[in-house]
């Protein structure tokens, strides 16, 4: 379905010239259709053992299903903003997004090292291109170039690790390597290199410097997309192939991400950098659930996608209310949080509470489950570190809330926001606030996914 949609859009974009962004609504509808087809073609019990697709290159197990579904929903919601008037027109956005979606959706399903490399390159190239899509902005071209350089380096590291893995196991097929690993007693430097390449691409500490610059330079609309989407698919790959990666090296990345993500943004005034560090912090929490191979991974992903979507939608739609710093990232600094619309600020505050881990919000429940599962696997110190870094991170989230409290004394103004964006934001806020109501039902279903 994705193949045909990509081809259709490609051909269409050459023949039809649009002067407005109404074209992108078609993209939203396409992604919605893909999601519908995805849901309707699922039969969880029959694929619980895994179906290999296309001559053993892909394996379709139930482990990856929640993440794929969440990615589709996220992209659908993100694309709704693209049809508003505040984004400059670019016809190639949809083709690139759809191709990226093809790469993202197939990345957790790979069963072979060669396929892994090709899909990662597919996903990465389209992501580099999307970063530099709004080429009127100098900064976004810089971001794209920087992203390309570092991503290429990470891909080279992964390629070298694939050479070593083939030398050791004699096969490129991940399934066969899983079976062979039980009979081999080898030193795991090779898989460590593969994981380092993946972590480099994700932007985990200590290899995170490039991601801060790239997320800062890119326009806010693109940062909203690329700061989560690559991480989602790559962490899903790591979760599905958890036997391939060494726990101790993942621990290193987890410690560094937690410490960096909790300490560094305390001195930041730049909202996007702070959100980038908080993303790194959250994915550090996620690594703990990957290490204990637990269902808390899905729960954390669910609430993090919701929170991320809501935060960035708020950042984007607040651009019309404040004096913009630039055309591409209107809301950049913390002192701009002084705006007239209190309801936007309230949704931001709900996200902040969720990231902090306050009880009724979803962040608390996911962190609770991560802590529970890591305690069961004897990761005591890591759990304590999670708690301490979460408390340290509370500082800068609370600082953002304090800055936005300055607007309590402003006069209330009616601002006319785009109704689609308003609808998406209100639905997301409602989902965020009522997460604890539908969480038990979700847990029952998710239990079957990774067994």
């Amino acid at each position: 379905m994705l193949f045909t949609s990509i081809l259709i859009f490609l051909v269409l974009s050459t023949y039809i010239c649009h002067n407005d962004n109404s074209f992108n609504r078609l993209g939203t509808i396409t992604v919605a259709f893909i999601t519908l087809m995805f849901i309707s073609s699922l039969n969880i019990v029959s694929i619980s053992n895994g179906i290999t697709l296309f001559n053993n290159w892909f394996i379709f197990k139930t482990i990856n299903l929640p993440i794929i579904f969440m990615m589709l929903l996220f992209i659908m919601s993100w694309l709704t903003y693209s049809s508003t008037n505040s984004i400059s027109i670019n016809f190639n956005l949809l083709v690139l997004v759809l191709t990226n979606l093809l790469g993202l959706m197939t990345l957790p399903l790979v069963n072979d090292l060669l396929m892994l490399y090709i899909i990662i390159e597919l996903q990465s190239y389209t992501l580099y291109l999307m970063t530099g899509l709004y080429n009127k902005s100098y900064n976004s071209t810089r971001a794209s170039m920087l992203y390309f350089m570092t991503g290429g380096m990470a891909s080279t590291i992964m390629l070298m690790s694939m050479y070593f893995l083939f030398n050791e196991y004699g096969t490129m097929n991940l399934n066969e390597m899983n079976m062979l690993q039980n009979y081999n007693n080898t030193f795991n430097m090779t898989e460590m290199m593969l994981m380092m390449g993946l972590m480099f691409k994700m932007g985990m500490a200590p290899l995170h410097r490039w991601s801060m610059s790239v997320y800062n330079y890119a326009p806010t609309y693109m940062t909203a997309y690329m700061s989560i989407v690559a991480k989602l698919s790559m962490s899903s790959l790591m979760f599905a192939n958890y036997w391939l990666f060494d726990n101790y090296v993942m621990l290193l990345f987890m410690y560094m991400s937690l410490l960096m993500g909790a300490y560094k943004p305390l001195y930041q005034m730049n909202l996007k950098t702070m959100l980038a560090y908080s993303g790194m912090l959250n994915f550090g929490y996620l690594l703990l659930s990957v290490m204990s191979y637990d269902m808390s991974y899905y729960m954390y992903m669910m609430q993090y996608v919701l929170t991320h979507l809501l935060m960035f939608m708020m950042l984007l739609s607040a651009g019309e209310l404040v004096t913009p710093v630039s055309k591409w990232s209107p809301l950049l600094f913390m002192n701009q949080l002084n705006m007239n619309n209190n309801y936007l600020l309230m949704s931001l505050m709900m996200c902040m509470f969720s990231l902090m881990g306050m009880p009724p919000t979803p962040g608390f429940f996911s962190k609770l489950f991560i802590m529970e599962s890591s305690l069961m696997d004897n990761y005591m110190f890591e759990m304590m570190l999670l708690m301490m870094c979460s408390v340290m991170a509370t500082y800068y989230y609370a600082n953002m809330m304090k800055m936005s409290m300055n607007s309590m004394t402003n006069k209330e103004q009616t601002v006319y926001m785009n109704s689609t964006v308003a609808y998406m934001m209100s639905v997301t806020t409602m989902l965020l606030l009522t997460f604890y109501i539908y969480l038990p039902n979700m847990i029952e279903g998710l239990m079957m996914m990774y067994m």
């Binding site: 990509i6 190639n92 690139l96 191709t99 060669l114 597919l122 530099g132 096969t171």
Partner: protein, 167 residues
């Protein structure tokens, strides 16, 4: 007697040529990284591709050797050379430390010896007679989906060039 001497000479020249090509490829790869002017490093890159192509062809991999020469030198290196000669890049050394010393330092840490013992299930390669037919067969049957995905990547390169540059 003469046949044996001829065979010996052929083998000797063959081995000598292989060694020369190997050494040349190693030296030109270091030069490609270490030379300051971009056009000079493109020249050494072309020498690298040519020597690798000779090595591959002599070992029996005819198709891939010729494809190396055709694609790498004929398309990519030519394109790069022309673009680089048009761009005005400053290539004179700015600081006192030579950049080649950085390069040599990096080479000390790089694991250039990639030949480990293979104590796993790897088959031996037999004589390859019909390389083109085999590759064509495999590309369309076993590696078909990879072929299609790589084609999507290449289409993205065209779309990307259009979208990033066009205003």
């Amino acid at each position: 007697m003469n046949d044996i001497i001829m065979k010996y000479m052929c083998l000797y020249i063959y081995l000598l040529f292989m060694k020369i090509m190997n050494i040349m490829s190693g030296i030109s790869s270091i030069l490609a990284m270490g030379l300051l002017s971009p056009v000079q490093s493109m020249l050494s890159l072309m020498i690298l591709f040519l020597s690798t192509s000779f090595c591959l062809y002599l070992q029996g991999f005819e198709l891939i050797g010729l494809l190396y020469m055709l694609m790498y030198v004929g398309a990519i290196a030519i394109l790069f050379t022309f673009i680089l000669s048009l761009l005005n890049i400053e290539y004179l050394p700015k600081n006192n430390i030579q950049s080649t010393s950085y390069l040599l330092f990096i080479f000390l840490i790089m694991p250039l010896d990639l030949s480990y013992e293979a104590d796993s299930l790897i088959m031996n390669l037999f004589n390859i007679n019909n390389e083109l037919i085999t590759i064509g067969d495999l590309l369309y049957s076993e590696y078909a989906i990879i072929f299609m995905l790589s084609s999507i990547i290449l289409v993205m390169s065209v779309v990307g060039a259009m979208s990033v540059i066009k205003c």
